[in-house]
């Protein structure tokens, strides 16, 4: 209980935006997870590619910002993973990853 209370009152706790900002960013991760079951043509190559680079940059940002934000760091690490998976699904679906069988790819 005491550790929960100290977290609740901490400078990065739920009374501050340092907490809710990263919580909002988990929404992007959850959206990505929900979209994993969708057909690949629903994936935006633009957005997913951008997200992959963005998440790496913000992992660094979360480390360097004052106060240091581990919640944001973990969120962006997870987002990186999710977006990379989505990107590979998109690439595969659009014929960018080579096919193993000898199929004629649409040109």
């Amino acid at each position: 209980m005491a550790s929960l209370r100290s977290f609740f009152n901490s400078p990065v706790g739920p009374k501050t935006t340092h907490f809710w900002g990263p919580i909002a960013n988990w929404g992007v991760v959850i959206a990505g997870l929900m979209d994993m079951k969708k057909p690949h043509d629903m994936i935006s190559g633009n957005m997913t590619g951008v997200m992959c680079i963005y998440s790496v940059l913000f992992m660094r940002f979360a480390w360097m910002v004052q106060p240091r934000n581990y919640l944001l760091l973990s969120c962006d690490a997870s987002n990186e993973a999710v977006q990379l998976i989505q990107l590979s699904r998109w690439a595969k679906g659009n014929g960018y990853l080579g096919q193993k069988k000898d199929e004629a790819a649409p040109q």
Binding site: T16, G21, G27, A31, M34
Partner: protein, 108 residues
């Protein structure tokens, strides 16, 4: 005079030598990607993604004013993100809930 102002910007704690500059600068890519996707048909838009982009933009606009260093670059990019997210959501909602009637009438 101009050089010293430029120097001040260059050496700013949220300036181009730091991640506090490059992370938000790259984040503009998300809004740009979303603007490019304005041309996508609404059926191809993702509710979860656009809701997440909008919510993140709104909350982070506040976040960027309370971190150290205070980051106006980050503030502006999140305002823009929220804007593009809201626009995409309105496009999709309009298509899903308000355009159906016209499509049904056209089929008959």
């Amino acid at each position: 005079m101009a050089t010293s102002k430029l120097q001040a910007l260059w050496n700013h704690p949220a300036g181009p030598k730091t991640i506090h500059f490059w992370a938000p600068t790259f984040k503009w890519g998300i809004s740009i990607a979303n603007i490019v996707d304005f041309a996508k048909p609404p059926e191809k838009l993702s509710y979860p993604q656009q809701i997440a982009v909008t919510a993140t933009g709104v909350i982070w606009s506040r976040y960027s004013t309370v971190i150290t260093p205070k980051n106006w670059n980050l503030f502006s990019v999140n305002v823009a993100m929220a804007g593009t997210g809201i626009y995409q959501l309105s496009r999709k909602i309009q298509h899903d809930y308000f355009a159906e009637k016209q499509a049904v009438v056209a089929k008959e």
